[in-house]
Protein backbone atom coordinates (compact mmCIF):
# COMPACT_ATOMS: atom_id res chain seq x y z
CA UNK A 1 0.00 0.00 0.00
CA UNK A 2 1.36 3.36 -0.94
CA UNK A 3 2.22 5.61 1.95
CA UNK A 4 0.51 8.98 1.86
CA UNK A 5 2.20 10.99 4.56
CA UNK A 6 1.72 14.72 4.68
CA UNK A 7 4.50 17.05 3.60
CA UNK A 8 4.99 18.03 7.23
CA UNK A 9 5.50 14.43 8.34
CA UNK A 10 7.90 13.71 5.50
CA UNK A 11 9.90 16.86 6.21
CA UNK A 12 10.19 15.94 9.89
CA UNK A 13 11.50 12.51 8.97
CA UNK A 14 13.81 13.88 6.29
CA UNK A 15 15.26 16.24 8.88
CA UNK A 16 16.42 13.14 10.73
CA UNK A 17 17.95 11.72 7.58
CA UNK A 18 15.14 9.36 6.63
CA UNK A 19 15.96 8.37 3.08
CA UNK A 20 12.50 7.07 2.26
CA UNK A 21 10.83 10.24 3.44
CA UNK A 22 13.09 12.44 1.38
CA UNK A 23 12.61 10.08 -1.56
CA UNK A 24 8.86 10.51 -1.27
CA UNK A 25 9.24 14.29 -1.26
CA UNK A 26 11.37 14.07 -4.40
CA UNK A 27 8.85 11.79 -6.05
CA UNK A 28 5.99 14.09 -5.09
CA UNK A 29 7.57 17.30 -6.31
CA UNK A 30 10.03 16.35 -9.05
CA UNK A 31 7.58 17.03 -11.86
CA UNK A 32 6.26 20.36 -10.54
CA UNK A 33 9.83 21.42 -9.76
CA UNK A 34 10.84 20.60 -13.31
CA UNK A 35 7.79 22.43 -14.69
CA UNK A 36 8.58 25.57 -12.69
CA UNK A 37 12.25 25.40 -13.67
CA UNK A 38 11.27 24.91 -17.27
CA UNK A 39 8.92 27.86 -17.14
CA UNK A 40 11.86 30.03 -16.04
CA UNK A 41 14.72 28.62 -18.12
CA UNK A 42 12.86 27.46 -21.23
CA UNK A 43 15.40 24.70 -21.76
CA UNK A 44 15.21 21.08 -20.77
CA UNK A 45 18.83 20.75 -19.66
CA UNK A 46 18.70 23.88 -17.52
CA UNK A 47 15.33 22.93 -16.05
CA UNK A 48 16.68 19.52 -15.13
CA UNK A 49 19.79 20.96 -13.49
CA UNK A 50 17.89 23.62 -11.60
CA UNK A 51 15.21 21.21 -10.38
CA UNK A 52 17.69 18.57 -9.23
CA UNK A 53 19.94 21.09 -7.52
CA UNK A 54 16.94 22.62 -5.81
CA UNK A 55 16.15 19.36 -4.06
CA UNK A 56 19.71 19.19 -2.73
CA UNK A 57 19.61 22.81 -1.59
CA UNK A 58 16.24 22.17 0.04
CA UNK A 59 17.65 19.20 1.95
CA UNK A 60 20.65 21.17 3.15
CA UNK A 61 18.43 24.02 4.33
CA UNK A 62 15.53 21.94 5.57
CA UNK A 63 15.71 23.58 8.99
CA UNK A 64 14.84 26.87 7.30
CA UNK A 65 11.49 25.51 6.11
CA UNK A 66 9.47 27.19 8.81
CA UNK A 67 6.18 25.59 7.84
CA UNK A 68 6.89 21.99 6.80
CA UNK A 69 3.29 21.54 5.67
CA UNK A 70 4.04 24.10 3.00
CA UNK A 71 7.17 22.40 1.82
CA UNK A 72 5.93 22.50 -1.78
CA UNK A 73 5.66 26.26 -1.91
CA UNK A 74 9.00 26.68 -0.19
CA UNK A 75 10.63 24.29 -2.65
CA UNK A 76 9.11 26.10 -5.63
CA UNK A 77 10.66 29.35 -4.38
CA UNK A 78 14.05 27.64 -4.31
CA UNK A 79 13.45 26.24 -7.79
CA UNK A 80 12.55 29.66 -9.17
CA UNK A 81 15.60 31.29 -7.59
CA UNK A 82 17.97 28.55 -8.72
CA UNK A 83 16.56 28.73 -12.24
CA UNK A 84 16.96 32.49 -12.38
CA UNK A 85 20.51 32.26 -11.06
CA UNK A 86 21.30 29.62 -13.62
CA UNK A 87 20.04 31.82 -16.45
CA UNK A 88 21.98 34.77 -15.07
CA UNK A 89 25.17 32.74 -14.91
CA UNK A 90 24.67 31.41 -18.42
CA UNK A 91 23.88 34.83 -19.85
CA UNK A 92 27.15 36.04 -18.39
CA UNK A 93 28.98 33.13 -19.98
CA UNK A 94 27.30 33.32 -23.35
CA UNK A 95 27.75 36.49 -25.31
CA UNK A 96 25.45 35.39 -28.12
CA UNK A 97 21.74 35.16 -27.55
CA UNK A 98 20.36 31.67 -27.74
CA UNK A 99 18.53 31.27 -31.04
CA UNK A 100 14.94 30.04 -30.71
CA UNK A 101 15.80 26.73 -32.39
CA UNK A 102 18.44 26.02 -29.77
CA UNK A 103 15.91 26.29 -26.98
CA UNK A 104 14.51 22.90 -27.77
CA UNK A 105 15.80 19.72 -26.19
CA UNK A 106 18.51 17.57 -27.66
CA UNK A 107 16.97 15.53 -30.38
CA UNK A 108 16.89 11.81 -30.32
CA UNK A 109 17.30 10.08 -33.65
CA UNK A 110 13.91 8.42 -33.53
CA UNK A 111 11.94 11.46 -32.60
CA UNK A 112 8.91 11.84 -34.75
CA UNK A 113 9.05 15.01 -36.82
CA UNK A 114 5.51 15.99 -35.96
CA UNK A 115 6.13 15.71 -32.24
CA UNK A 116 9.19 17.83 -32.68
CA UNK A 117 7.23 20.49 -34.49
CA UNK A 118 4.52 20.52 -31.87
CA UNK A 119 7.08 20.76 -29.10
CA UNK A 120 8.94 23.59 -30.73
CA UNK A 121 5.72 25.46 -31.36
CA UNK A 122 4.72 25.00 -27.75
CA UNK A 123 8.11 26.02 -26.49
CA UNK A 124 8.03 29.14 -28.56
CA UNK A 125 4.49 29.94 -27.50
CA UNK A 126 5.39 29.35 -23.85
CA UNK A 127 8.46 31.53 -24.09
CA UNK A 128 6.23 34.39 -25.21
CA UNK A 129 4.11 34.13 -22.06
CA UNK A 130 4.94 35.97 -18.84
CA UNK A 131 6.84 33.73 -16.45
CA UNK A 132 4.03 33.44 -13.94
CA UNK A 133 1.60 32.34 -16.67
CA UNK A 134 4.07 29.74 -17.89
CA UNK A 135 4.39 28.35 -14.39
CA UNK A 136 0.67 28.24 -13.85
CA UNK A 137 -0.27 26.65 -17.16
CA UNK A 138 2.47 24.01 -16.81
CA UNK A 139 1.59 23.21 -13.22
CA UNK A 140 -2.11 23.02 -14.02
CA UNK A 141 -2.30 21.48 -17.46
CA UNK A 142 0.86 19.41 -17.40
CA UNK A 143 1.25 18.45 -13.75
CA UNK A 144 -2.42 18.43 -12.87
CA UNK A 145 -2.23 20.72 -9.87
CA UNK A 146 -5.47 22.32 -8.75
CA UNK A 147 -5.99 26.08 -8.64
CA UNK A 148 -5.88 25.97 -4.87
CA UNK A 149 -2.59 24.08 -4.80
CA UNK A 150 -0.98 26.47 -7.26
CA UNK A 151 -2.28 29.45 -5.32
CA UNK A 152 -0.84 28.08 -2.08
CA UNK A 153 2.50 27.06 -3.48
CA UNK A 154 3.11 30.11 -5.60
CA UNK A 155 1.62 32.34 -2.90
CA UNK A 156 -0.89 33.93 -5.23
CA UNK A 157 -4.61 34.62 -4.78
CA UNK A 158 -6.76 31.87 -6.28
CA UNK A 159 -8.52 34.37 -8.55
CA UNK A 160 -5.19 35.53 -9.93
CA UNK A 161 -4.24 31.93 -10.69
CA UNK A 162 -7.47 31.38 -12.61
CA UNK A 163 -7.03 34.59 -14.49
CA UNK A 164 -3.42 33.80 -15.43
CA UNK A 165 -4.42 30.33 -16.50
CA UNK A 166 -7.19 31.69 -18.69
CA UNK A 167 -4.91 34.15 -20.45
CA UNK A 168 -2.08 31.65 -20.78
CA UNK A 169 -4.34 29.08 -22.39
CA UNK A 170 -5.81 31.66 -24.68
CA UNK A 171 -2.37 32.79 -25.81
CA UNK A 172 -1.17 29.22 -26.30
CA UNK A 173 -4.22 28.30 -28.38
CA UNK A 174 -3.78 31.39 -30.47
CA UNK A 175 -0.10 30.63 -31.06
CA UNK A 176 -0.86 27.04 -31.95
CA UNK A 177 -3.65 27.97 -34.32
CA UNK A 178 -1.37 30.40 -36.11
CA UNK A 179 1.16 27.68 -36.91
CA UNK A 180 0.47 25.84 -40.13
CA UNK A 181 0.39 22.10 -39.67
CA UNK A 182 -0.01 22.19 -35.91
CA UNK A 183 -3.79 21.61 -35.89
CA UNK A 184 -3.20 18.33 -37.71
CA UNK A 185 -0.67 17.29 -35.14
CA UNK A 186 -3.01 18.21 -32.35
CA UNK A 187 -5.75 16.17 -33.95
CA UNK A 188 -3.45 13.16 -33.71
CA UNK A 189 -2.60 13.98 -30.15
CA UNK A 190 -6.28 14.12 -29.38
Amino acid sequence: MKETSSDGELVQRALKGDERAFGQLVERYQRPAYAVAYSVTGRHEDAEDAAQESFLVALERLEECRNPERFGGWLMTIVRNRSKNLIRRESLRETDQVPPGARSRARTPDRVAEDSELRETLEQALSDLPEVQRQIVLLHDLEGWKHREIAERLELPSGTVRSHLHFARKALRKALEARPGVPDILRKVQ
Binding site: F22, Q52, F55, L122, V137, L142, R169, R173, L186
Partner: protein, 140 residues
Protein backbone atom coordinates in the same frame (compact mmCIF):
# COMPACT_ATOMS: atom_id res chain seq x y z
CA UNK B 1 -10.90 19.29 -36.96
CA UNK B 2 -10.99 19.88 -33.26
CA UNK B 3 -13.72 22.11 -32.00
CA UNK B 4 -11.55 24.46 -30.04
CA UNK B 5 -9.36 25.07 -33.04
CA UNK B 6 -12.38 25.86 -35.21
CA UNK B 7 -14.26 27.99 -32.77
CA UNK B 8 -11.51 29.20 -30.50
CA UNK B 9 -13.01 27.37 -27.56
CA UNK B 10 -11.33 24.77 -25.44
CA UNK B 11 -12.54 21.24 -24.92
CA UNK B 12 -12.93 21.19 -21.21
CA UNK B 13 -13.03 18.21 -18.92
CA UNK B 14 -15.30 17.84 -15.93
CA UNK B 15 -12.88 19.73 -13.74
CA UNK B 16 -12.59 22.54 -16.27
CA UNK B 17 -9.25 21.34 -17.63
CA UNK B 18 -8.32 22.13 -21.18
CA UNK B 19 -7.84 18.53 -22.19
CA UNK B 20 -6.43 19.13 -25.64
CA UNK B 21 -3.98 21.72 -24.48
CA UNK B 22 -2.96 19.50 -21.59
CA UNK B 23 -2.40 16.67 -24.03
CA UNK B 24 -0.29 18.91 -26.24
CA UNK B 25 1.71 20.15 -23.27
CA UNK B 26 2.46 16.58 -22.34
CA UNK B 27 4.92 16.54 -25.23
CA UNK B 28 7.09 18.77 -23.02
CA UNK B 29 7.23 16.09 -20.37
CA UNK B 30 10.67 14.47 -20.56
CA UNK B 31 8.99 11.14 -19.86
CA UNK B 32 7.19 11.39 -23.20
CA UNK B 33 10.47 10.34 -24.82
CA UNK B 34 12.03 8.42 -21.97
CA UNK B 35 9.60 6.49 -19.75
CA UNK B 36 12.29 6.02 -17.09
CA UNK B 37 13.15 9.68 -16.98
CA UNK B 38 11.58 10.45 -13.61
CA UNK B 39 13.02 7.31 -12.08
CA UNK B 40 16.49 8.40 -13.14
CA UNK B 41 15.81 11.95 -11.99
CA UNK B 42 14.92 10.70 -8.53
CA UNK B 43 17.84 8.29 -8.44
CA UNK B 44 20.27 11.06 -9.27
CA UNK B 45 18.87 13.31 -6.53
CA UNK B 46 18.92 10.49 -3.99
CA UNK B 47 22.49 9.54 -4.85
CA UNK B 48 23.63 13.14 -4.45
CA UNK B 49 21.66 13.54 -1.23
CA UNK B 50 23.04 10.37 0.37
CA UNK B 51 25.88 12.06 2.23
CA UNK B 52 23.67 14.80 3.65
CA UNK B 53 21.05 12.26 4.73
CA UNK B 54 23.77 10.16 6.36
CA UNK B 55 25.07 13.23 8.20
CA UNK B 56 21.58 13.95 9.51
CA UNK B 57 21.12 10.36 10.64
CA UNK B 58 24.43 10.46 12.47
CA UNK B 59 23.47 13.64 14.32
CA UNK B 60 20.17 12.13 15.44
CA UNK B 61 21.70 8.81 16.48
CA UNK B 62 24.25 10.52 18.69
CA UNK B 63 22.65 10.68 22.13
CA UNK B 64 24.04 12.63 25.07
CA UNK B 65 25.43 9.38 26.50
CA UNK B 66 27.16 8.66 23.21
CA UNK B 67 28.75 12.08 23.19
CA UNK B 68 29.90 11.69 26.81
CA UNK B 69 31.15 8.18 26.16
CA UNK B 70 33.13 9.19 23.10
CA UNK B 71 34.45 12.22 24.97
CA UNK B 72 35.41 10.17 28.00
CA UNK B 73 37.18 7.59 25.87
CA UNK B 74 39.59 10.25 24.74
CA UNK B 75 39.85 12.39 27.84
CA UNK B 76 39.66 9.95 30.77
CA UNK B 77 42.98 8.14 30.17
CA UNK B 78 44.79 11.45 29.86
CA UNK B 79 43.11 12.80 32.99
CA UNK B 80 43.95 9.66 34.94
CA UNK B 81 47.57 9.77 33.84
CA UNK B 82 47.80 13.43 34.80
CA UNK B 83 46.30 12.72 38.22
CA UNK B 84 48.73 9.88 38.92
CA UNK B 85 51.66 12.01 37.84
CA UNK B 86 50.50 14.87 40.06
CA UNK B 87 50.14 12.62 43.09
CA UNK B 88 53.58 11.12 42.56
CA UNK B 89 55.10 14.55 42.18
CA UNK B 90 53.50 15.84 45.38
CA UNK B 91 54.68 12.82 47.36
CA UNK B 92 58.25 13.08 46.10
CA UNK B 93 58.45 16.79 46.86
CA UNK B 94 57.12 16.22 50.38
CA UNK B 95 59.82 13.67 51.16
CA UNK B 96 62.75 15.71 49.91
CA UNK B 97 62.19 19.07 51.53
CA UNK B 98 59.16 19.92 53.49
CA UNK B 99 57.93 23.22 52.37
CA UNK B 100 57.36 25.75 55.13
CA UNK B 101 53.81 25.81 56.08
CA UNK B 102 52.28 29.20 55.73
CA UNK B 103 51.07 30.58 59.02
CA UNK B 104 48.96 33.53 59.83
CA UNK B 105 51.02 36.64 60.56
CA UNK B 106 49.64 39.52 62.52
CA UNK B 107 49.87 43.14 61.37
CA UNK B 108 52.17 44.13 64.23
CA UNK B 109 54.49 41.28 63.44
CA UNK B 110 54.62 42.38 59.85
CA UNK B 111 55.53 45.95 60.90
CA UNK B 112 58.45 44.92 63.08
CA UNK B 113 59.77 42.08 61.04
CA UNK B 114 63.38 42.63 59.98
CA UNK B 115 63.49 45.86 62.02
CA UNK B 116 66.59 45.99 64.33
CA UNK B 117 65.97 45.28 67.93
CA UNK B 118 66.90 48.83 68.81
CA UNK B 119 63.69 50.51 67.85
CA UNK B 120 64.50 53.83 69.52
CA UNK B 121 66.29 56.11 67.06
CA UNK B 122 69.94 56.38 67.83
CA UNK B 123 69.94 60.13 67.28
CA UNK B 124 67.43 60.61 70.08
CA UNK B 125 69.38 58.59 72.57
CA UNK B 126 71.18 60.37 75.44
CA UNK B 127 74.47 59.35 73.88
CA UNK B 128 73.72 61.39 70.82
CA UNK B 129 73.63 64.72 72.65
CA UNK B 130 76.73 65.89 70.94
CA UNK B 131 75.25 65.03 67.59
CA UNK B 132 73.47 67.12 65.05
CA UNK B 133 70.32 67.43 67.11
CA UNK B 134 72.25 68.77 70.11
CA UNK B 135 74.00 71.22 67.92
CA UNK B 136 70.71 72.39 66.53
CA UNK B 137 69.22 72.79 69.99
CA UNK B 138 72.10 75.05 70.94
CA UNK B 139 71.36 77.36 68.09
CA UNK B 140 67.64 77.60 68.69
Amino acid sequence: MMEWLKQGTARLGESGDDLVLAEALRSLDPASEDPNYWLRFRSWVMAEAASELARRRMIVELTVEDVLASWSRAVLPVALAAAVAAIALIRNTGLEDAAPVASAVGVEELLVVEVPLETRPVLLSPDAASGIVAFASDIY
